[in-house]
């Protein structure tokens, strides 16, 4: 699971049968099944290929992310779902060997175009990571960092409001209101992850990307985060990568199934889970491989 975050290409290797190259397998998967496009998309991915050095990790993906909706991306390890997610706010820029072709639009503007500043993009498209990663600073400072960075507050009272509101929206305010000066790292794992969500919300992003946000958490903390994702849907477009099919079924409205870097099937979550059209999707969700 951890490997996937670094270089998925490694995992692809292991799954490749000897007689076929990845390219041949991907070609044999055929076109994406289901409707990749929605009306009025917030973000729109068209024909995106991603390479790590010479190895191709994602093959011609088309996918829309809609407002007020949670889209979950599922698939076996190394299928490129985290890679695609990290393309959506250009976090892949930090990996020197990573190359992205194709087009990703946010509100109709290409995020990989020369005019787009990755710093501004990341303020608009926030991200929550697999492992809770609060800064080793106070809870208050953790949340206040983003707004302060972007100058979103006019004065101290403003900042206090933003911090309290963000913590409230992330459903953690009642638990930490008396110890905002404690270190963010002193919280439990689930609380840390909600703190990270509060930190992301504080920048008032338009899209929130979540990369397996519950994989390091226990079931109770997971339930709280899932509840929170459902509430956040009212205000944000959310894309979530998950390894838990139950979680995908619980929180998302649309689901995209990836295999070996190819988007195999996408559609309403209900349809995908009750009536998958592609053979691989069916095999995966019935637990026959993955």
């Amino acid at each position: 699971m951890n490997k996937e975050n670094t270089i998925p290409a490694l995992d692809i290797d292991q799954q490749t049968p000897n007689e076929q190259t990845i390219e041949e397998i991907v070609a044999s998967l055929g076109d994406t099944v289901g409707e990749a496009r929605v009306e009025n998309p917030k973000m729109s991915v068209s024909g995106v290929d991603v390479f790590y050095a010479e190895k191709q990790a994602i093959f011609g993906v088309d996918l829309d992310i809609a407002n007020n909706e949670v889209i979950s991306m599922i698939g076996p390890s190394g299928c490129g779902k985290s890679t695609l997610l990290r393309c959506l706010n250009r976090m892949n820029d930090t990996i020197p060997i990573c190359r992205v072709t194709g087009e990703i639009m946010l509100d109709g503007e290409g995020i990989y175009s020369k005019d787009t500043d990755p710093v501004l993009l990341r303020a608009r498209v926030g991200m929550v990571f697999q492992k809770p990663n609060p800064f080793p600073k106070s809870i208050y400072e953790n949340v206040a960092y983003g707004p302060r960075l972007h100058g979103l507050n006019r004065n101290k009272a403003d900042l206090d409001d933003i911090v309290v509101n963000s913590l409230r929206k992330a459903g953690i305010y009642d638990e930490v209101k008396n110890r905002l000066d404690d270190a963010g790292t002193s919280l439990s794992g689930g609380q840390q992850q909600r703190l990270c969500i509060a930190r992301t919300i504080a920048c008032s992003p338009e899209v929130i990307l979540m990369d397996e946000p519950c994989s390091a958490l226990d079931p109770i903390a997971t339930a709280k985060i899932e509840e929170l994702i459902d509430e956040l849907r009212e205000n944000y477009a959310i894309a979530i990568v998950t390894h838990s099919m139950q979680q995908a079924a619980r929180v998302s409205q649309r689901t995209a199934y990836f295999h070996l870097g190819k988007l195999v099937e996408v559609g309403d979550t209900d349809t995908i889970f009750t009536n998958p059209k592609h053979e691989l999707t069916e095999k995966y969700i019935t637990g026959r491989f993955g």
């Binding site: 706010n89 976090m91 930090t94 020197p96 710093v119 501004l120 993009l121 990341r122 303020a123 926030g126 991200m127 990571f129 492992k131 990663n133 609060p134 800064f135 080793p136 960092y145 983003g146 960075l149 972007h150 790292t185 990270c196 930190r199 992301t200 920048c203």
Partner: protein, 437 residues
């Protein structure tokens, strides 16, 4: 599962048990041996350290004490060659030695021959006159009066009083003669000889007389040199480390740079001295023996050390922190200065202090740039001629007088004290600012 398969399984298990049991004994014996060797190694190194420290302390401790002789010195205008109306220059040049000698002769009126007189005069250090000079210059009205002063004793007398001179040897073979012993014993029984804390050691520069030599000059030289080293190497090294670690693309050029930095850290320090001599002194015409050149050379030497430790510290900051800040829309510079650098700071400071401690103990490169001269004055600016503590130790270790042997050890004690202090600060900083995530 059938009965047969179960039986084979049980059989296999007991086989395993027997084999593991057999090998266990060997494994434990091996572990025991390894621990024993470890203990022996630690005990051996601790013993060496203890022997070093104890021998230096035993030899150096007497240097922190100094013996004084009590005299009634008559400051008559005739002996001094000046009166109270004389100007400052004349007062400085007055014959204080003569006054001291007269007072010694008064104590022992029987002494008449030249040889005996010289033996008697050696009781008081040549530095005694400077003490007297300072008193008179502060208050010229003392001329014509008799003052009661404690003056430092000469090196041989001091050696005798500390028991360094073997009185069982025949008189001809020792530097301290029988008549001198008799006089000193008389003075001692009169309470005119006293041993006190040696403040001279900390308040004066170098001297040819061991009882007058102090470490203040070399200590200040060391401080000034380290000041230059720190102000130059710390910012340059940290900036280099940040650039290489956080911004530079990973390609052949950065690989070459990295290899070269690692190589520089292993270059013998005297080579840096030669470099400093060629570039800073010959080419840039900077003054010789000056702390500024010493500092420049030592910063060249400490740069790789600090760069390497700073890079290690930056590398140890978890990437998740960088991701978090980047994901919030911080620029790469902001990520570094808001998050990565503060987290890496304890490690960087530890590396810096260790580099500084290394620079403090460095001798060879400074010999090349002339910081090995005999310098009496305490340096106050970066271009004053100066020497540093380890070079001072090196110089004193060459001198034969008993007093300098003690001083050498005492200066080593002071140097070790500073090194321990610096390393303790490094440990303290690491403990205090260490953060967990």
């Amino acid at each position: 599962m059938t009965e047969q398969t179960r039986q084979t399984q049980v059989q296999a298990m007991s086989d395993t048990t027997i084999r593991v049991r057999q090998s266990l004994k060997k494994r434990y014996a091996r572990e025991k041996r390894f621990r024993l060797f470890g203990m022996i190694a630690i005990i051996a190194s601790l013993t060496f350290l203890a022997v070093l420290i104890i021998s230096i302390t035993i030899r150096g401790l007497p240097a922190f004490k100094q013996t004084f002789i009590n005299l009634d010195v008559t400051l008559d205008a005739q002996t001094l060659g000046v009166d109270e109306t004389a100007d400052e220059n004349a007062l400085r040049r007055a014959n204080y030695n003569g006054a001291i000698r007269n007072s010694l002769l008064e104590l022992f009126p029987d002494v008449s021959s030249r040889k005996e007189k010289r033996a008697l005069y050696s009781f008081v250090s040549k530095g005694g006159q400077y003490d007297l000079q300072a008193q008179v210059m502060a208050d010229p009205a003392l001329i014509g009066q008799t003052v009661n002063v404690w003056l430092p004793v000469g090196d041989d007398t001091s050696g005798y009083l500390r028991g360094h001179i073997d009185t069982t040897l025949p008189e001809k073979k020792r530097r301290f003669k029988d008549n001198q012993i008799a006089w000193v014993e008389e003075l001692r029984s009169n309470g005119q000889i006293e041993t006190r804390f040696n403040s001279t050691f900390f308040s004066r520069g170098d001297s040819r007389e061991p009882e007058l030599a102090g470490i203040k000059g070399s200590l200040f030289g060391s401080l000034l040199t380290l000041l230059v080293t720190l102000t130059l190497s710390f910012p340059i090294a940290v900036a280099t480390a940040i650039y290489l670690e956080e911004f530079a693309p990973k390609n052949r050029w950065t690989d070459i740079i990295e290899v070269n930095i690692n190589n520089l850290a292993a270059v013998p320090s005297i080579v840096f001295g030669l470099l400093g001599l060629a570039i800073f002194i010959n080419f840039f015409q900077l003054p010789r023996s000056a702390p500024i050149v010493g500092g420049l050379v030592l910063s060249l030497m400490t740069l790789p050390t600090i760069i390497i430790s700073a890079r290690a510290a930056l590398k140890s900051v978890p990437p998740s922190i960088r991701d978090a800040a980047l994901g919030l829309g911080a620029s790469r510079l902001q990520v570094v200065f808001h998050h990565v650098l503060p987290l890496a700071m304890p490690g960087i400071l530890t590396g810096t202090i260790i580099g500084m401690a290394q620079a403090l103990g460095e001798t060879a490169p400074l010999l090349m740039i002339g910081m090995v001269a005999f310098i009496v004055d305490v340096p106050t600016t970066l271009t004053d001629p100066a020497t540093v503590l380890p070079v001072q130790i090196f110089q004193w270790a060459d001198l034969p007088e008993k007093g300098f042997v003690e001083k050498t050890s005492a200066a080593i004690m002071v140097l070790l004290g500073f090194l321990i202090l610096m390393n303790a600060t490094a440990v303290f900083l690491r403990r205090k600012f260490e953060r967990k995530w």
